[in-house]
């Protein structure tokens, strides 16, 4: 299936890999189909590309790659709605923002949960104080502090 994207031009994607998010993401209710694309082979960052809107793509990570103690509690009704029978069927993506062009942060309050068996996805809202929309992944300042010789 060939789609148009702003970042990669025309690309061929596997229709089997399309993630359907019926309600869209918060703020983007009209985009319902997404696909995952590599940034670079082996990179923990991937693009979450809107299938029907070429200019819309989010950087995403698997939050467990960076925040090993991250926990998601899915309410029964959400799990039911997503037809998630087992935790192993769930893939979790955290959307990444770039703050002031110098640091990368991950949104851990609104992760996208995907049922890998059905391709059905949903942006889940984690209530409570534990996580924020901006958990630091990396910044230029961090880098400067780590290399005092420079």
């Amino acid at each position: 299936m060939v789609i148009q994207t702003a970042r990669f031009g025309e690309i061929d994607i596997d229709p089997e890999g399309i993630i359907n998010i019926e309600e869209g993401l918060l703020g983007f209710p009209e985009e319902n189909r997404f696909c995952l694309l590599e940034t670079k082979p082996g990179s923990p960052f991937r693009w979450f590309q809107a299938v029907d809107r070429g200019e819309l793509a989010f950087l995403v990570i698997n939050p467990y790659d960076f925040f090993s103690d991250y926990e998601i509690f899915l309410e029964d009704e959400v799990a039911e709605e997503m037809m998630l029978a087992k935790p192993e069927d769930a893939a979790v993506l955290a959307l990444v923002s770039i703050q002031d062009a110098e640091s990368l942060t991950a949104n851990l309050v609104g992760p996208v949960v995907v049922n890998t068996r059905t391709g059905k996805g949903m942006q889940v809202v984690l209530d409570g104080e534990r996580y924020s929309t901006r958990h630091l992944i990396a910044s230029q300042e961090q880098d400067a502090a780590a290399s005092p010789a420079a």
Binding site: F28, S43, P44, L95, V96, S97, A101, T133
Partner: protein
Amino acid sequence: MLILTRRVGQAIKIGDEIEITVVQVSGDQVRLGVTAPRNVRVHRTEVLEQIAQENVLAAQSSAETENIERLLGKSAKEKKKRDSSGESS
């Protein structure tokens, strides 16, 4: 918008299935109890707004930033560092 006055212990009903009860009032804080069908999701409004705002920022910032490759490379390094320190401990 409907505005009405309730006392602690009193409730309002929205449609047939949603009921909101005033549980406690202290100062400018109000504790509410919400009874709703399982398929009705109840969230704090500002949390939804924050996530929506961050989604918009995520879309804009990843589309515009020129040094994204450098930032990504660095973050991948951070992850590797973390991974290897995890293995050694």
